[in-house]
Symmetry: C2
Subunit: 395 residues, 2 copies
């Protein structure tokens, strides 16, 4: 139930020696058509990796035949040489696919990388990996590809969303990401595939709408990556043309499923926290307030300690400027896992009624009493394991 679930795709995942662990680290997803529509949403970080710069350019025409992804190195902050490495990787994939009978130009190969920043990729290993990946391409290769893009992920993340009412088309997907999860986008790579017949504009609109309310609302640690990439490939192999709304909903559902899986596997987390802000003056206001709470290290550490510390929620809410989110501080209500711990900006039900020790999910519900808009941001608690993984990651 992954990128090879829709018709018209082959994929593979191989070990090329980029990871010191020897695990799979090069993935390839190939769209065999008949259509080769592509769209991508990329990190808004101004310090972006070479593959992001490449992919942004390569996807502009709305066409792509393949996506090559490597873990074991982000190829970010690697200068002109790093960009040349990405360019060369795309050329190597194109030549290998063409040699295998699938005529492909380098400009139709999208590239994604993930791993440490500031280190060049070992190109000899990567070339060999690409050759092996082309040879291993299979119609059931999706699970291998999903394994090969993992970094600190503990499980592979895949999804498959059928079209509405038993339609003959569907959306498949895979993603990686466990740390550096923050908006615009989370630190993640994601490839979605569909056998629906759609044009590039429709694919792009569906993907942008989907990421805005899914991946962009995961904020594991407030850190925006240099490499985030979400790609949608459409093969048209089902022969079915869904409506724009049908496509958008299937893509959104696939992104939402993968985003929830990212949160569940965030580095070192012991709780998944959903911060819902309701009765805001606008959706943007709701997002801003939820985002402020999702970035409070104090609140996140309290949740790790199973402490429903609503005072830390309110102190984070209060940092949002009035022009961004109008509200009356003396009207704020907060419920945690259904217990109304704060009422009208003051003490509500006893916090002892909230049992976080036996809950993985923490639902924080903030009522601004300032309108009727709503949004939810997902984050995680701040744990010893988060500190451990991120202080030891590079060593």
């Amino acid at each position: 139930m992954t990128v090879t679930s829709p018709q018209g795709f082959r994929a593979s995942g191989v070990a090329a020696g980029l990871k010191s662990s020897g695990k799979q680290d090069v993935a390839l997803v190939v769209n065999e058509g008949p259509q080769h529509v592509a769209a991508a949403v990329l990190t808004s970080n101004r310090v972006h990796a070479a593959p992001v710069a490449w992919t942004r350019q390569a996807v502009k025409d709305g066409v792509a035949r393949a996506v090559v992804l490597n873990s074991g190195g982000a190829n970010a902050c690697t200068g002109p040489e790093g960009f040349a490495d990405t360019h060369h990787t795309a050329e190597h994939v194109a030549a290998a696919l063409t040699g295998a009978g699938q005529e492909t130009g380098a400009g139709d190969v999208l590239v994604c990388s993930t791993g440490l920043i500031g280190i060049r990729l070992p190109m000899e290993n990567l070339r060999k990996g690409v050759d092996d990946a082309v040879a291993a391409l299979a119609a059931d290769g999706g699970p291998d590809a999903a394994l090969a893009i993992m970094t600190t992920d503990t499980v592979a993340k895949t999804t498959h969303v059928p079209g509405p009412g038993g339609a003959a088309w569907s959306v498949g997907g895979m993603a990686k990401g466990a740390g550096m999860l923050a908006p615009g986008l989370a630190t993640m790579l994601c490839v979605l595939t569909t056998d629906a017949s759609v044009d590039a504009g429709t694919a792009d609109a569906a993907l942008r709408a989907a990421t805005r309310t899914t991946f962009d609302r995961v904020d594991s640690d407030g850190c925006m990556s240099t490499n985030d990439t979400v790609i949608l490939l459409a093969s048209g192999a089902s022969g079915v043309s869904p409506t724009e709304a049908e496509l958008a909903e299937a893509v959104r559902a696939a992104c939402a499923d993968l985003a929830r899986q990212l949160v569940a596997d965030a580095e070192g987390a012991s709780h998944d926290i959903a911060i819902t802000v309701r009765n805001a003056s606008s959706e943007d206001a709701a997002v801003a307030v939820a985002r402020a709470v999702s970035r409070s290290n104090l609140f996140k550490a309290a949740v790790f300690g199973n402490d429903p510390n609503w005072g830390r929620v309110l102190s984070a809410v209060g940092t949002v400027p009035e022009e961004v989110a109008p509200f009356d501080a003396l009207a704020l209500d907060v419920a945690i896992n259904g217990v109304q711990v704060c009422r009208a900006g003051g003490v509500g039900e006893p916090r002892e009624l909230v049992d976080l020790a036996s809950a993985r999910e923490v639902l924080v519900d903030i009522d601004l009493h300032a309108g009727d808009a709503e949004a939810t941001i997902w984050t995680n608690d701040l744990t010893h394991d988060y500190v451990h993984e991120n202080s030891a990651y590079a060593s």
Copy 2:
């Protein structure tokens, strides 16, 4: 070398049973004149504690005779009852001082509280503490007052800055704050005293200028408090009227000294990190870039692991919007403790040359090559002890 170092002040610190530890928890600083000038800078958090609302109002006329401070309870998010508690505290201090021969109105008593949010203060204990504090007032009571405002601080923070060139006036001060340190202001209470003869406008301007470049540039954990208060009291007891510039510089030096002490004692920290951004297009741009780096949990966890992870510096720099801080990502230089680990957005000197294991101070120097403005933000690393202290604090 504290609030009672300048002439015209008495202070005290007593144990009133607000802290379960039985340690000192009520402090009093009294300005005996002949002048009773006061200024205050207060948290910009929209969810602010009752004492902040009180002090904002009480200091408006530029006059105050006393500051009463309690640890062991923030009196934040406590509703109208919490505000009544603060009002009553000020009245009680005024009555006790008047009874002791120092005619004082409640409106000339500033109030500060620190501790847990969302819990009412035990007023009977506090009243008794105020009575004891008035009885204990002494011309050498500054050190006791500094002890009584501590929460998770491990050491008391005090300062004393003489006027220029052996002048007869000086600035003394005390502060508390160890967690929830972030701009506008850090989670902290600070009382400064001076025996200079100044008017309220000059005192206010000096205090605002000083906090802008000192306390506002400490960002221990990105969390803004509900209770931050910095107060300056001027007695005029020296009979000397310094120039505005002389006063401003002495107040700035006192704030800078206390701010550095706060960083050095931040909860669970093993490194103090100074992030200097130079050659920015404006001071605001430099602050925005430095602030973004200071809030990167990933970079701060790397520093805890003694890893000079400049890729995480760059990925944080890249999150600042271009309209806030123009720069070319391919021109960025980063040095860590003097080693140029990143040059022109790419790999510089080997990161192994940076020895963080034996350094408490980590100096991150970011050159934007976009102008000639500069700013420094101080922060700390993200450690197991930070997580521990903040997950166990309320329990």
